[in-house]
């Protein structure tokens, strides 16, 4: 049931995420039963996100900034439907492609070519579509004849290139990037940034997490700043990055 206003493609409403941290991880039946009998099953609650709300319109490019542990990856996972929020809801319109880690859908025993079909299937592409775009994917990844080698023999750069070219072969409506543009050599980084920029021109909405403030300023139009699970700044990329820079300088002066 979509209740999005015409231009909105993503709406995050009052999302909060709680994790239960066990003092000692209990992952077998024997310990569980013993502790249950001894009433020693105790949890510590950790709220990773508090009451996050924001909306994205079509074509927005949102940068998500924050120090380590602020909750950026958790937020992205919730938007990608990998994690279910404890409270709140996320509504979105259109095809969403999350790039939370390049090559996570790969099976290492499979060749690159076989993985193109597998990874494409995981991302929700149809068989005909992958067949059609197969050559283009191989060409962009620059893997040539290595495409028929098992992925376990690939270098991390090769895996990243393959993952990136499969994931970006289609123009998703919403693209989520979690620090994936810092992978690969300078030549590939340039190529991937150009492909992302091409997507912008076609109106793809992007959520972008990066520690490189400079990259965020270059690629995004808006930004939000997270701290300890709350949004403490939400505005244009210039406004928020200035605020962020102040924060960095403040803490380093302590």
């Amino acid at each position: 049931m979509e209740v999005l206003v015409k231009e909105e493609v993503l709406k995050v409403e009052n999302v909060s995420m709680k994790f239960n941290l066990m003092e000692k991880k209990v992952d077998n039946l024997k310990e569980y039963v013993i502790k249950m009998i001894k009433r020693e099953l105790r949890y510590q609650e950790f709220w990773a996100l508090h009451d996050i709300s924001f909306t994205l319109n079509k074509g927005d490019r949102l940068g998500i900034l924050g120090f380590n542990g602020a909750g950026k990856s958790t937020l992205l996972k919730i938007i990608a439907s990998v994690l279910k929020p404890t409270e709140g809801k996320v509504t979105m319109k259109g095809k969403i492609v999350p790039l939370l880690e390049l090559g996570a859908g790969f099976d290492l025993q499979y060749t690159g070519a076989e993985n193109i079909y597998l990874y494409g299937a995981v991302l929700g592409y149809s068989k005909e579509f992958i067949k059609e775009k197969y050559d283009e994917i191989v060409a962009f990844s620059e893997l040539d004849e290595f495409i028929h080698v098992p992925v376990k023999n690939y270098s991390s750069g090769m895996k990243a290139r393959l993952g990136f070219s499969i994931a970006t072969i289609v123009e998703p409506d919403i693209l989520i990037l979690d620090e994936v543009l810092s992978v690969g050599d300078a030549k590939f980084r340039k190529k991937s940034e150009k492909r992302i920029k091409d997507m912008f021109d076609k109106g793809t909405t992007v959520l972008f997490v990066s520690h490189s403030l400079e990259q965020v300023k270059r690629l995004c139009s808006r930004a939000i700043l997270l701290e300890k699970g709350r949004i403490i700044a939400n505005g244009t990329v210039d406004e928020v990055s200035t605020f962020y820079e102040h924060k960095i300088n403040d803490t380093s002066n302590d």
Binding site: N20, A80, A121, K127
Partner: protein, 259 residues
């Protein structure tokens, strides 16, 4: 309900790819490859026949077929449930990065094992022909126990894959349960040869037993299906499937926190 069906349609291609991958990779590095699917039951059957044929006296020419009918079905049940148990953990990398309906993982492992099982039935046909087992029209009713077997494996697979995420030692526990099931499935002995009188109901508590009985009746003895066994196996199969689906559905959002 509708939403679940639509979701399933969307990921049909992924399911096919996962099943294909399971089967391809299972035999990629082995020398005999898919031939082993046929060889293994044959060799087991030979060993079991030699060891146990004295339990039935001489003259039972079709004993090897008797063994095979039970053994093949049990092997499928054992392999598919063991594989389903590991399905979620083995795919943890994918689950943590992209949304995919999670039931697809145990479903794919059970299906790929089922396909391999169907291929192994070729060996059953070969041995049956060699030993002059007369086929009757009742063979076609074998489809029913085979279908119920799949449902049972799916149900147990879902239950196991859910619980195995939270309790790692389930593997060992299930190994013991499987052993119990194997010895009470009448694979290499006949229940009629045991002196237990009215205590057949003990065997009927084993869900696999009733399915094997029906399969044998259809294929080996040319009898129509035993209604009692049919009812028991239908109840067990769909019961476990229902429980499995409920258990899985209720807990799937917590998987990612434990893998």
């Amino acid at each position: 309900m509708n939403k679940i069906f639509n979701n399933f349609k969307k990921y049909r291609f992924l399911l096919a790819e996962l099943v294909k991958k399971d089967i391809k990779l299972k035999y990629r590095r082995s020398y005999l490859g898919i031939l082993w699917t046929l060889l293994e039951p044959l060799l087991t059957m030979i060993v079991l026949t030699i060891v146990f044929s004295n339990l039935l006296g001489k003259g039972d020419e079709s004993f090897p077929v008797y063994i095979l009918t039970g053994r093949l079905l049990y092997s499928f049940f054992s392999n598919s449930t063991k594989a389903a148990m590991k399905a979620i953990r083995n795919n943890s990398a994918m689950i943590k990065k992209v949304y995919v309906p999670k039931y697809i993982y145990p479903l794919a492992t059970v299906l790929s094992n089922y396909l391999i099982f169907l291929i192994s039935l070729i060996m059953l046909i070969v041995v049956a022909i060699v030993l002059h087992v007369q086929p009757t029209w009742h063979i076609f009713s074998a489809i029913i126990p085979l279908f119920l077997l799949l449902i049972l494996a799916l149900g147990c697979g879902m239950i196991l894959s859910t619980m195995a995420v939270f309790f790692r030692d389930l593997e060992y526990l299930w190994g013991v349960v499987l052993m119990l099931i194997m010895y009470t499935s009448a694979i290499f002995y006949k229940v009629s040869a045991l002196k237990i009188g009215n205590k057949v109901w003990i065997f009927q508590c084993n869900p696999l037993y009733s399915i094997i009985v029906n399969f044998r009746d259809a294929v080996l003895y040319g009898k129509s299906l035993n209604l009692n066994a049919l009812l028991i196996s239908t109840a067990f199969s769909f019961g476990t499937l229902l429980i499995g689906m409920l258990l899985f559905y209720k807990n799937q959002d917590k998987f990612i926190l434990n893998i």
